[in-house]
Amino acid sequence: MKKLFVGTVLGVMLMGGFMSVQDSNQEDLAYELEPSILSVQKPVSFM
């Protein structure tokens, strides 16, 4: 019982540590789109 309790607490603490790192990671997560290296093509229309 005691081991289960300690294990859960440790697990939650570790995750808390990971998550706080996740939050500060958020700033760098962007999926930018660079322009093409080929001719700038005329855009094609889509409905």
Binding site: L14, M15, F18, L29, L38, Q41, K42, P43
Partner: protein, 422 residues
């Protein structure tokens, strides 16, 4: 005239003929090899026999006309142009080239690599590269410059940016040995800037984009300047200089407006969306993404990534109804792109969100664990990998499956570490 030996060799290689097949009955194989590599000069009779077997003629008179036509066509491969018109000119030139031993022949063959990339035929570009490999030892410095550059373009477009950069470096070296117009050098610098940006070499990207923009500004080439501003915007965002990033994006939009290029304006909008998303300003992110997705003139290759980002943004702020609408739209766009492999990551991302919103835990876990995360690992798509490994971690955490949760949080963190090293 281009050395006839090289001309014969190239024709032979392109027709899939061996030296033995060509030489048989005319000269020995070893002598043919010497002719092809310009170590021996054959008699006109021998040349004539070899050419007859290859089905080609030698006509010396048409060369000057060809040069002008070629130059015009080359220009079309770098600026805004109609693909159909480019193809038409290509067919004309190709026919002309088939019957003439021209100084321009080799350059034309090298430019074919770029041509195939512009019309989207990557396989043909590779075939052309492979056949030209056989004669690349006869290229002069000018040939080599374009050879390296266009091979680099091929690698850029097939996702091998590191190899592309090595080739661009070789091209840049050649630039010092030849006399080219400034806008040609600028185009190379711009291409290098984009390649650096794709592998997050932020400072190098800024450096090359600045060099390119210097030339394009002098020439009032607004479209090219706008492209450089977008590359700069992306880089400045990555080093958290947000004001400078926004300034560059807005400049790109302004120049795009002057040239009536909706494509440029919307590309700037997509990236502005990413900027605000990364700052946690979902409201602004949604606004910019929305502009792009609602615009009927935006090409599919830009619209699909935007739809995915908008799905993600709505999901993040709990607007699940809107997320679902955007998700469906995204999946339809993927279908209209004929399920193009290049956009597979978006298909996976949208499907993962779909299962998450439908609360189909089994399918959600399955697609992430068995398909999406391995796919992202294989393709080194670290940004997506951090995001979705994290999402899976959160999913397991909510179910109190802490061991599983830790595993994916750990993956997210390790991947993030790789991202910041890049």
């Amino acid at each position: 005239m281009m050395e006839v030996g090289s001309y014969i060799k190239l024709q032979r290689v392109q027709q899939g003929m061996t030296q033995d097949e060509l030489a048989s009955g005319i000269v020995s194989m070893s002598y043919l090899s010497k002719i092809e590599n310009q170590r021996a000069e054959a008699s006109p009779e021998v040349i004539s026999l070899l050419c007859t077997r290859l089905g080609i003629e030698i006509d010396n008179e048409k060369d000057i006309d060809i040069k002008d036509k070629c130059e015009e066509w080359y220009g079309m491969l770098f600026e805004v142009n109609d693909k159909e018109e480019i193809k038409k000119r290509y067919e004309e030139l190709n026919k002309l080239m088939e019957t003439v031993n021209s100084n321009n022949y080799l350059m034309f063959e090298i430019y074919k690599v770029r041509y195939f990339l512009v019309i989207g035929e990557h396989e043909s570009a590779l075939e052309q590269i492979n056949s030209l490999n056989e004669v690349s030892n006869t290229f002069d410095n000018l040939h080599l410059y374009y050879w390296y550059k266009f091979k680099g373009n091929y690698n850029s477009l097939t996702g091998d940016n590191n190899q592309a950069l090595k080739l661009y470096e070789l091209a840049e070296e050649k630039l010092k040995q030849i006399d080219l117009k400034n806008d040609e050098a600028a185009d190379l610098y711009y291409t290098i800037a984009v390649a650096h940006s794709k592998i997050r070499n932020t400072l190098e990207s800024i450096d090359y984009a600045e060099r390119a923009i210097e030339v394009f500004q002098i020439e009032y080439n607004f479209i090219r300047c706008a492209q450089c501003h977008i590359v700069l915007g992306i880089s400045y965002r990555r080093i958290k200089m947000y004001d400078k990033a926004i300034k560059n994006y807005n400049l790109a939009k302004h120049l795009g407006g002057l040239e009536r290029s909706n494509q440029i304006i919307q590309l700037a909008n997509v990236n502005l969306g990413y900027l605000y998303s990364s700052k946690g300003d979902s409201h602004s992110a949604v606004h910019y993404y929305g502009e792009v997705v609602e615009d009927s003139e935006v090409d599919l290759q830009t619209k699909l990534p935007t739809a995915t980002s908008l799905t993600r943004e709505y999901f993040k702020i709990g607007e699940y109804d809107r997320s679902k609408i955007m998700l469906d739209k995204g999946l339809k766009l993927f279908k209209r792109l004929n399920y193009d492999e290049a956009f597979k990551a978006h298909y996976y991302a949208l499907t993962a969100y779909k299962y998450a919103m439908e609360k189909d835990e089994a399918k959600f876990e399955s697609i992430l664990i068995n398909e999406f995360l391995p796919y992202l690992t294989k393709h080194k798509e670290y940004v997506y990998l951090v995001d979705f490994a994290n999402m899976l971690g959160e999913h397991f955490e909510k179910q109190a499956k802490y061991k599983e949760a830790l595993k994916y949080y750990k993956l997210a963190n390790l991947t993030y570490g790789k991202l910041i090293i890049l």
